[in-house]
Amino acid sequence: MFESIDLSLVNWSRAQFALTAMYHWLFVPLTLGTTFIIAIMETIYVKTGKPEWKTMTKFWMNLFGINFAIGVATGIILEFEFGTNWSNYSWFVGDIFGAPLAIEGIMAFFLESTFIAVMFFGWNKVSKKFHLLSSWLVAIGANLSALWILVANAWMQNPVGTTFNPDTARNEMTSFWEVLFSPVAINKFLHTINSGFVLSSVFVLGISAWFLLRKRHVVVARKSILVASIFGIISSLSLIMTGDGSARQVAAVQPMKFAAMEGLYNGQRGAGLVAIGVMSTSESDPRNENLKDFAMKIEIPNFLSYMAFLDWNAFVPGIHDIIDGNEEEGIMSAHEKIERGKFAIEQLRLFKEAKKNGDTDNETELRDLLTNENFQNEYFKYLGYGYIKDTNFLIPNVPLAFYSFHVMVMLGFMFLGMFVLALWWLLRGTLENFRWFLRLSVLTIPLAYLATQLGWMVAEFGRQPWVVQDLMPTTTAVSNISTASVQITFWLFALIFTSLLIAEVGIMTKQIKIGPKTEEKGGQK
């Protein structure tokens, strides 16, 4: 069904998608969160009529606008990159994957782009209430667009609501609601937007702290910190809850990713959670050098079993159990899955051949087999394994998954602590006395960006080699183009996005240094 593809093409295509996605993700979280922060500030302005709230709204809106533009620029390529670089994937799963992308455009992008014009240009043209409504609609539109793309990504991690059609040789949707409301999708959406809210809160806190250090725009800074810290605390708590939910979903439907995230090689009942761990650089498993032993770890007994399955004594499969199988725990070996996948691929090939030769009896028999529910559950479910030649290929980069996950979690708790401290000291009127904390707040801004990137690294590197879990490995998903073409576009994207990033940082920094423009009561200066 899928030809053997040059691995360098696969790796460059993966690299390009990672590059474009990571650049896009530098800007999207700030959009997701600041739109709500701005809407909240403007709501307070409309309710109270106090000009400092309008000043704040317009200041953060200015920064949002700079960020939004480059977010859009980096986003357009992603919409079409599924087609340009992953055309086999686009056909194989487009019946399910295309729908959320289209709905994203119809439902979310137009909402965002329409009312953003009112938000920026409508201050003196429309009523206060209409302007406020526009600001809220931009926030809702931005987060709605996140919903649909995350539903699509969640489906890649856990392909539900679908069946395989042998005539078209593709997966086809059978339940839209199963796709939309899959627990993986719900947790992923809520966790991701909350990560954006937290990043935005850190951003507002950090910049406001900088103003306080410089003793500039003190009123605006204090009120901004008030909004950001409360918004940040609520978002952080939600982030923790949904992160917990997401991890539990990963344990259920992507056990290899879970084992990699937790650095678990040998499964056990009552598995302990490695809270902090450092992997050795030299010792490794002779079967796979990727599997590094821990040089040091602090483990909480039984906690991993409880977190994963809400049972202190649950069996948590390790990497070796998933590869070698574990009869006692009912885990099929990778080798068995590969055999079943190969069988499914062969039946499909025979079906196509019978159809081409006009052998209708065979064609009918094979179609009945391929569409049979038992066959789909027992064989077709492992279709992707049929393309795997080496079981080591099924193991993602463990150190990368482990460190990304653990550093992300640590940073998340750090941010929560900072929001709590900021709010506490602000309400006590002593925040400006803690200059070390204000400096730390400024320095934390890049850490928020790091945390959000690490989250996506866990999600996407952790699922390798799958582009659709168990159904399609990345090696069969790429477009049939020359590696050189992808290399050229990779470097072009790197050049253009890096240039635009440098431009954006320069422009944003300048606007921060200029600071907010004071609004007079009842009008503007």
Partner: protein, 376 residues
């Protein structure tokens, strides 16, 4: 009602939606046309700022329509999406790069500490205006002239040339459509400026430039249409789905689909009427007629490309790999699900209209630029 629609009707319904989105995209590419006119119409910094701000309040509509067009095509005809984007790699990359540089240009152009400089972004806008229109038009030209691809038994695409889609510029008919779109975008932009800008110097220049741009646009358009109606087209047998070349296919489509013929003629008439209004009567009113006419004409052209058993994405290399609405669409379930979603479209159009009127309730002039706190 949607539950009762047959699969074939759903396929036709979605080709209508795609055609409408394509038509709206061409209309909204007046933004791109305007970007190529910045230095011709704006002789001072202030004048250029007015022009850029007039366009800047609309640029996201075009962008969003392009993205939605792509997404809708993916959802409704995924085999086209996979084959065209995965095959014609270079032409789509060129189009996308031109839009990437546009997206930041409005916001970054006039901001201080801008290390690339304002001029760079103005060049970006010009490049997007030039390449975006010509390349999109040329790419759509392959809907009528065919592209160099083949599909295997598993519907995986192999592109037959190393130019990966750029070879479309070697087919003059494709280029004619590209130049038509480019010319139309400039004509519509000039009409939009007539409607939106209140500045004596700019308004004086737009009137002169309109005549100067209308002539080549009409020549390109006429040439494209004449060749189209006289050429062979890619037809498929509705029973067997076998593809063959049919002489005068698009002329036959026009005559066999009288409603499409009426739409096409009405569209062309409206465009000409709008241009005539702006040139000879009331500058500023013409955009409404030309705009509506553009949508009708382009809509009709898309219907010509995909209806009446016509392959909308033909393969000039392997006829039987050609795509039509019957062999490239999503499943019945997906099309039906998406049809429910499409009921949102009238609401989207309504709120766009409301917001557009709210922002465009008076013309942009120098006073507004002096007072505006957020400007490009």
């Amino acid at each position: 009602m949607i539950a009762a629609i047959t699969y074939s009707l759903l396929q036709e319904y979605w080709w209508i939606i795609i055609s409408l989105l394509g038509a709206l995209l061409v209309l909204l590419m007046f933004v791109q046309g305007g970007q190529t006119l910045i230095y011709q119409l704006g002789k001072t910094d202030q004048e250029r700022t007015i022009i850029i701000n007039a366009l800047g309040r609309k640029w996201e509509f075009t962008f969003t329509t392009l993205v939605t067009f792509g997404g809708a095509f993916f959802a409704s005809f995924p085999l086209f999406y996979a084959s065209s984007f995965g095959g014609a790699y270079w032409v789509w990359m060129a189009i996308l790069f031109s839009f990437i540089i546009q997206a930041v240009s409005y916001e970054f152009r006039s901001k201080p500490a801008n290390f690339l400089g304002a001029k760079t972004y103005e060049v970006f806008l010009f490049l997007n205006g030039l390449l975006g229109t010509i390349l999109i038009g040329t790419a759509v030209g392959t809907f009528f002239n065919g592209a160099q691809f083949s599909l295997n038994a598993y519907n995986q695409v192999t592109w037959q040339t190393s130019a990966r889609g750029l070879e479309a510029v070697l087919e003059i008919h494709n280029v004619l459509l590209g130049l038509t779109v480019f010319g139309l975008s400039r004509v519509l932009a000039l009409q939009y400026f007539n409607n939106t800008i209140d500045n004596e110097a700019i308004n004086g220049r737009t009137k002169k430039m309109l005549l100067f741009n209308v002539v080549p646009f009409l020549l390109f358009f006429l040439s494209f249409v004449v060749v189209l109606l006289l050429k062979r087209g890619f037809a498929y047998n509705p029973e067997t789905l076998v593809v063959s070349l049919e002489p005068y296919k698009y002329l036959h489509n026009l005559l066999q689909m009288p409603l499409v013929l009426v739409l096409f003629l009405a569209g062309v008439f409206a465009v000409l009427w709008g241009i005539g209004l702006d040139l000879f009567k009331t500058p500023g009113k013409g955009i409404w007629y030309s705009g509506a006419g553009t949508v009708l004409t382009v809509f009709a052209l898309f219907l010509l490309a995909g209806f009446n058993n016509t392959c909308f994405y033909p393969s000039a290399y392997d006829l039987q790999s050609s795509l039509h609405i019957r062999n490239s669409s999503s499943s019945e379930f997906t099309l039906r699900t998406m049809a429910w979603v499409s009921l949102l479209i009238p609401f989207v159009v309504a709120y766009i209209w409301i917001a557009w009127k709210a922002i465009n309730n008076k013309k942009i002039n120098q006073d507004e630029m002096d007072q505006e706190t957020h400007k490009y």
